[in-house]
Each structure stands twice: as C-alpha cells, then as structure tokens.
Subunit: 465 residues, 2 copies
C-alpha cells in the first residue's frame, strides 16, 4: 500500500498573490497541515512578498530606513516553510471548472497550467490612475508597491526640486503630504472633494484642512486636476486644473484603489457593486466551496449598515488570510465583517473614523442624531494635553451608536478603538456613557472625550439639551 | 396665593462632601431644577471643592504648576450657580428618621441641624495609616488632599534632602515614586506584596518591578515597614523593616484608602464587606428612597465577577455624581457597575488593567485560561515602536473575556480600553480576534497587541496551540 494513500490524498493549495492575505493564508494553512498533506504553490508577479504597503509613506518620508524593513517575511523564509513560492510569475487565467490556473513566468515568458484542490485569490487592489495628459510622465508616481516607492525616492534624489503636488487627499494623499514635508518639500494637495479625507464628514474634514494648512501645506479642495504639464526634458513641471497651474518637481497620485479582480471577473466569479469578490464569512467565494478570496480584492460586510464595502487595509487582509488558512487547514474560522475603522496622521495631526458617516447613514436609510464635542487627550492641567474633536452619530430613538470621527493630536487616533468595539457590540450611546475606561491624568480627562461625546449624543437621542 | 406654593413645594437637597461625586451631583441637579424648585446645601469640611486628587502626584512632581490647576470648579463658581456651599463645615451626624444632618462649623465650633428632602452622601475615602511608631513624625506624608500635597511640598523645600522612601506600591505609591524621581530624589519603594501593583497578577507585577528598577528606583518587595525612625530634631530619618533600615529625608505613605463611612455606619445605613455604602443602580442607598451615595464611599458592582468591590477613582465618582444629580433632578439615570479598569504610569512605564486577575477569577469560582504575549505599540519598523506585554484571561469553555493586563511604554496604557468595552459587552476572546481596530504603522502593528493576545487566548480556550 502506498504511504501517501494511507495518509489520504495529498491536496494542492494554489495562492494567487504573495502579499498579506495570500501569504497569511499560506502560512496558516502550513501551520495546520504539513507538506505531506498539503502542497502549497503561491504565485506572485512582483519581486517581493508579505510587505507592508501601508509603510511606504514612512519609508519615503525617511522615518523607515529601507524597503527591507517593510518586508514581514521574505520569499526565502516562505520557501523554508515548504511553500513553493514563484516570484515574477503572473497568473493569467483561472479555470474554475477545470480547477486549474494558468501562470506566466514574466522573465522567460513561459506559460503553464497548475491544477488545484483549493484556490486562494489574493490579487489585491490596483491604484486608480486618472486618464489625463501627462499622467505617465517621469516624475509622476503612485505609491502602491515597493517598486513604486523606490521609483519615487529615485526621482526625489535625482531632481532635487523643492515643490511637490499630491493629487488626492485620502489616507495615501495625506500620508504622502507628510512624507514630502519631511523631505523638505513645499507641498500642495489638490483634492476633488469639498474637504480632505472624504472618509470623514465634511465638518470634520474641515478640521483636517485647517490643520494641514497650519502645517504649511497648501490645500486646494473642490478641484479636479485636468492635466499634468511637462518641461522640455519631458519631466513633470506642473499640475494643471481648470483655473490654475501648480508648479511641481514631483507629483504623487493618491487617488485611491479599486479591487484587482480582472482574473476573477473573466472566470465568472461573483463580484459586488464595488468590483470586489463576494465571499461568505469563511472567506469562500460565494457558490464556490474550494475557492477562497481575501484582502484588497474582496468586498466585506459592513456590520453597521449591513451593506458590502471595499476596505483595502492591511489589517483586514491579514485577518482574511488567517481565516482562509485556518479553513484550508481543516479548522474553522470566520471573518464577520468590519465596522470601518481607520486611523491616520499628518505630522502631529491624528485622524480617525469608524462606522457610518452622515451620508452612509442616510444611504442605509437610518435616521440619526449627531453630537460633536471638544475635549483634551489628557487632564487639562497635565502637560501635553492636546485638544481633540469627537463627532458621534447615533440612531434616532434606539440610540444605537452608528459612527465616530476624531481629529486631534497625540492620543486622539487610537481612541477610535473604543467606538469600534462598541459598534461591534451594538451598544447604544447611553450604554457608552457608563463605560469604565482607563483614567489617570496623563492618559485622559476624568471624562474621556469619547464619554463626553456619548453623553451629548445620548441627550440628543432623548431630546434633552 | 403664594407663588412658591403654586410651583409646588420647594425641596432641599443636602450634600455631604464637596468633591467629585458630591459636587457633580449638586451641579447636575441644579442644571435640571432651578433654585425656585430645589435648594441645594453642600457641606465640605476642607478648604476646597471639586479638585482632582489624582493630579496631586503630578503637582508634587512638578508637572503641574500649582494646586489651583487641580480645582475643576471653585467654591465661588458653585455658589454662583445657587449652591449653598459651606466650607470648613463637617457633618457630624445623619438622622435618617428625622431627615436631617447635624453640621459643625470647624472655625466657630457652632453646630446646627439642617433638614433635607434628598440627601447625597459623598464622604469619600480615608487613607490607610499604618499604626506604627513614628508614623506621625514630621516628614511623613499622605497624599490624599490638596493640603497633604502642600505639606509634602513644604517638607521637600525645607529639608532639601535627597532620599525618599515610599511605603506601598499601588497606584499612589508608583506615581509618587515618579514624582520624587522628578524632584531629584533617590527613591526606595517598600512594599508588603510579592511584587508592586497588586492590582496586577504577580507575573505582570514582576515586569513593573523590573522596569522601576531600570528607572533607578530601589524596589523592596515582600517587606513590612515596622517603624519610622526619627532624628534628634524629631524629623523622620529612616524607615525600618524587620531586617533593615532605609534612610529617608521624606516618607510618603501610599498604602491605599478605605471608604469613609463613619457617619453612614452610625446612621445604620447598609455597608458592604469592604466597608462601603451599598446602593442600587440609581445610586440610592439600599432601602432608602431619598438617600443617595456615590464616589469613594460606596461599593460598586463588578460586572465581570458579579461581586461588590471598592474602587476609589475620580472617574467613577464623577459618573456617580452625574447619575445622582440626574435622578434628584427628576430624570432617570443608572450606574450599571464597573469592569475594574485602571491605568497608571511611572515615568515612561505604562501600567493598565481591567477585569479579573487570576485570583479574582478563582475567588469568583471561574475556571480560566491565560495568554501572555509580547508585541509593540507601533509597527515594528516605525520609529518609537516600544515593546508591550499583554496578559489576557478568558473563561474556560465559553471563552468569555475575563480580564486584561498591560505593561509597556508609550501607547500601552489606553489600549486597555479595548478590553474594557469588550468586557462590558460580554465578548468572547474569539469574537475579539476579529475586532476592527484602528491600524496604521504609527499607531499599531497590523495585528494590534490586544488582537494578538485574543488570538492566543482563543487558541487556549479551544485547546489548540
């Protein structure tokens, strides 16, 4: 009797995409099933695996020494754990019926089919690149991959200019503004929204606008970039809008990303309205028992609105990978969904949000009240106490917490976690008023800012002032 | 017809104790009922009202300029809001049947009775003062009141010594150790427990011990102070234990506090096993519709163990006052209980805890697992990422979160709030593993340390490694 038969049939797991979701899935599956039981083949079209794309702005800004610091686990480390990782190899087709994928070696051009028993699609997201003249000119950079980061740093080193324009004022945009400030650039941020950080309500976005101007950044809101102008050398020289030109030695595009689901779409797999793959809580692609998907290429359930969202964020990708790997490995795990927590900073300005904005609440058909308060990060008398603004949304009548947005300085951002847990638990703002949060003068006023907001929101729910 | 009769009978609220709980109650009642409806008389035996006792160590340490910074609202401000505040007036008897209190003017010695319709007992706590020779010598200080703080500062200024001994290693003890370090003293902390911070499990207390020694503080654990030795001038010169003498120019007692319920006991009001008043969720003293109590003189329900605890903390006192004032004012509010959250620091060491320690879980008859992990405050590659240790307790089989303890540096302490909310919501550690917490490299690793602990605890619950 064949020994491998005695162990049961050896299965093959194929992973498409070697970053957070894909390699977390592979690693966790390997932890649970050894190479005798499960063969793992992972295809990655780039040069690197398992890196923190979220860290790129800090590498560009000089806070992180080099790209190798951003790599959580190298290709060699994965291979040492019996994962057959093939870099520079792009999957070009998924044949769901035939349970196989076709992959091309980007260096040799060779293509071949690899069959699978289980498939993980972790193809990530692709940056939105506006179609406009000059967008491909030297000096115009995205910051999605380590290669992008290196190209941008090369431009900064080569051109030695002093003026930078960032297009877009979401997380990537504001983080890149900080990076370029740290590199000594005069920074202009051009943003089509009415305020920066459209993940916040405009009233809170306004605070970000003001604080960024206070940091010396020129903020141009409500403005569409129409083209990118180049000099005689072909290199970028300015960003043009309907009304003005903004001189630029370097341009960074931070407009956002979309799910990279070209392969999945061609394979007939189910996509949602944001273009991401649709999965169940076990991260199985809907209707496909043996196909999993996770990370920036999927849509996730918003536990507050009950609607699907696209939330490209490393922390979710890692959780997805963990869940997929556990399920592939024979265990059972689920990813229930998100509440939409995000935190960012621009120099010493901290920006955080969770749950629904006003427009999300309206879109979900919810009636709500809002409460906005000002407080401080520490007891007012304690050194370093810095102001913060907290806005809270609660459902009318039930008082259920719907969302929180925070703009402040040190100590503001991570306070959003209090609201993230309360949202997950379905708490009312009234219940939140008696939360037993950590208090000591160096850490909080005697009423934590989140509690102050909850008190005000609770009064608004109950119609008392 | 008399106008006051037309408005109904004007009631009188009497408040005993002019600090956080008492004056919050008075202020909130006043907000809801004006002076035509409700007369408010507040008795305070000290010179000050509404001050932050928690801030005293930072005033002594020099981080806060003067005691006036610690006063949230002065006597004049209270009086301007039609609160008849009587300082230096001590209530000496509560006559519950007669609905009146007897008070003595501490300057004139005059005593008189004041009747009440509603009574608030907010008599606070008194420091434990060990009975031992020399404990009343000049140079031996408690730090419970602003007067205590001033007396200690006077001693520091007058004696100009360089050696300080702190007796006790709880919150007050460790905070005073920091204050004296900041004043340039060589500090020794003598502590009867096996480790400092007995509000933590000993394994986590050990980390505090090591970190405090790293700060240059001499830690003497497992040691009882037997007497305080004085010099020829009568001033303290050393602290003696069974085995040794520790020279001291100043001694600070930070042994803890007990509920100040002498009056309540004499009045026959119900006290719990920790000596604190027992109330319902509306903060009414049990069995007494018109008598409320709050702050450091009451016991509170521990929502995790279901047992009563004494938790003297300004944040609870303020919440109690708010609830009492709302109820006295004709509204309805409750204080459901605590989960036992506390946070503190010694220089850059942050210490936090919430929920049950191992011994609390055993006492409550719960079977539990523990998980301890090491992680960092920020992404490992981001500047300023500092190590932290998180210990988590979960109930065996159900996986319900029971408690969390954190020891680390900047960014460690307030992470305990995540667990505080999860405890309040009755979450399991498995549910916690998918919490959507704020992530960006300057704020957290891609798996927040609390999530890493939850994952490990969840595995322990399910018996997988």
């Amino acid at each position: 009797m064949d020994m491998s038969a005695a162990r049961g049939v050896r299965e093959r797991l194929v992973v498409i995409g070697g970053d957070a979701a894909g390699m977390s899935a592979a690693s966790q599956a390997r932890r649970l099933r050894d190479a005798g039981e499960l063969e793992i083949v992972a295809f990655e079209r780039g040069h690197f695996t398992s890196y923190s794309a979220c860290g790129i702005p800090y590498w560009v800004g000089g806070d992180v020494a080099g790209p190798e610091r951003l790599i959580a686990r190298t290709a060699e480390e994965h291979r040492a754990r019996d994962i057959d990782l093939r870099l520079r190899t792009e999957v070009t087709e998924i044949d769901v019926a035939g349970r196989r994928v076709r992959a091309r070696d980007l260096d040799s051009g060779d293509e071949s089919w690899t069959s699978y028993d289980k498939l993980v699609i972790a193809t990530g997201a692709r940056p939105i690149r506006p179609e406009m003249p000059g967008v491909d000119a030297p000096g115009v950079h995205g910051v999605q991959t380590l290669d992008d980061g290196q190209a941008l740093l090369d431009t900064l080193a080569r051109t030695g200019g002093r003026r930078a324009v960032v297009v877009g004022a979401g997380y990537i945009g504001v983080e890149m503004a900080e990076a370029l400030i740290n590199r000594g650039y005069e920074v202009t941020v051009v943003n089509r929204g009415s305020e920066p950080m459209s993940t916040l309500d405009p009233d809170m976005g306004r605070l970000v606008h003001e604080a960024m101007e206070g940091l010396g950044i020129t903020m141009v809101d409500d403005t569409e970039v129409t083209k990118i102008l180049t000099g005689d050398d072909g290199h970028v020289r300015a960003v043009a809008t309907e009304d003005a030109e903004y001189p630029a030695d370097v341009v960074v595009l931070g407009i956002g990303v979309r799910p990279e689901t070209t392969l999945a779409r061609a394979a007939g797999l189910p996509l949602g309205e944001h273009g991401g793959l649709l999965t169940d809580r076990a991260m199985r692609v809907r209707g496909h028992t043996d196909v999993y998907a996770g990370g920036d290429c999927v849509e996730v359930l918003d536990l507050v609105s009950g609607q699907e969202r696209h939330v490209p964020l490393g922390t979710h990708a890692n959780k997805h990978g963990q869940v997929i790997g556990t399920n592939v490995g024979g265990g059972y795990a689920t990813f229930p969904g998100v509440v939409g927590t995000a935190v960012s900073k621009v120099c010493d300005l901290e920006i955080a949000r969770t749950g629904l904005r006003e427009k999300d609440a309206r879109r979900a058909g919810l009636r709500y009240v809002t409460a906005t308060i000002e407080s401080t990060s520490r007891a007012g008398y304690y050194p370093g106490a810095s102001p913060m603004t907290v806005k809270m949304l609660a459902e009318l009548r039930t008082g259920r917490l719907l969302g929180v947005q925070i703009v402040g300085r040190e100590g503001a951002g991570k306070r959003v976690d209090i609201a993230a847990v309360a949202l997950t638990a379905g708490m009312t703002v009234e219940q939140m008023t008696s939360l037993d949060l950590g208090y000591a003068p160096p850490f909080s006023p005697v009423w934590d800012p989140v509690l102050v907001a909850a008190r005000k929101a609770s009064k608004a729910v109950h119609g008392v002032s």
